[in-house]
Assembly symmetry: C2
Homo-oligomer: 197 residues x 2
């Protein structure tokens, strides 16, 4: 494995086209002295009800294409009353029907439980692959609140933060409880243990 | 290429787990004296806004796995007022929010234009790949009508068939105008021309 002359630790490449995702990841990884860079390459996403398979396939492909140690993260919002919709297709659903579409689908529904799930897949040029998942439970708010975060953040209230959505939190506050940060922390602990630097 | 001792023509394998899709395809192909069989193998579907890529990837994989001449068909419902939702993810959307979800999203919206698109990808064991597409324009009905067809058929009224949904039509009637039949007819004409039998 190539070693990089970075101020701290080795460099992991976070494959995404989403700058918000990368900023969140960089923040968490830095806590563990792991340096990260955003790698914007196109990897194929499979259609699968299990986001772990989506992340894994992407990481394998990205590591093969780039020859670099990479992370691919896939996440979805799963709403109980909508049978897990929008799930693995959250990005497409966000880009088409948006936040208002979700609120309209739920209407006056009282059962608004939902969770975000994130899977982080790490793969290096030798083909070592490992996945880590994180979940945050919560509920869908009655209206859009806040402009922070991205995607469905302004309609998701994590448990224990009554009445506040991810959209109303700073990146640091979201990072303390989010699905993505939970998955990344698991990765970071494993990575530091297995890749000494 | 292997020749099969079938009453008419060579056999094409239609890869699907959806028996309704297969029945529709068999009906159309039979008009062209092309025999078809349903092949139920799992092929990976990629996430792509273009269903042509989804069908192509699937056909290539299915032909490679089976060594048979195969068809993979992918289709989607694209609703103008919802920015093309549910599009390539129609099956997942149908299984989660269903017909009522679509009607709820549209509400009293007057702009109800939509179209179904089908792409048929043919691939044989030599890796020859060819795609054919078909579109049917129409609108989303105000309520669910009919029990025929499958998927979103009971809320889709094709143009020229005022006030009747695909769900209210027989398989023959739907086959005269549907997206799938249009793509399959193009395939059939090409296949008969290029694979003499």
């Amino acid at each position: 494995m190539v070693t990089y002359s970075f101020p701290y630790g080795r460099l992991v490449y976070f494959v995404t086209g989403n700058i918000h995702k990368f900023f969140e990841a960089r923040q968490i990884l830095a806590e563990y002295n792991i340096a990260s860079a955003m790698l914007k390459i196109k990897v194929s996403e499979i259609q699968d009800d299990d986001i772990e398979n989506i992340a894994k396939t992407g990481a394998r492909e990205a590591a093969k294409t780039s020859g670099l140690p990479v992370i691919v993260e896939d996440a979805g919002l799963f709403i109980d009353a909508l049978n897990g919709f929008p799930g693995p297709y959250s990005k497409f659903v966000f880009n088409t029907i948006g936040l208002n579409g979700i609120l309209r689908l739920l209407g006056n529904e009282q059962k608004r439980e939902a969770y975000f799930k994130s899977v982080v897949a790490f793969c290096n040029s030798e083909g070592t692959i490992k996945t880590f998942s994180g979940i945050v439970e919560g509920r869908i708010s009655n209206k859009i609140r806040g402009t922070g975060g991205f995607g469905f953040d302004p309609i998701f209230e994590p448990k224990g933060k009554v009445g506040r959505t991810f959209g109303e939190m700073s990146i640091e506050e979201k990072g303390r409880v989010s699905h993505r940060s939970r998955a990344l922390r698991k990765f970071a602990v494993w990575y530091k243990k297995n890749y000494k630097f």
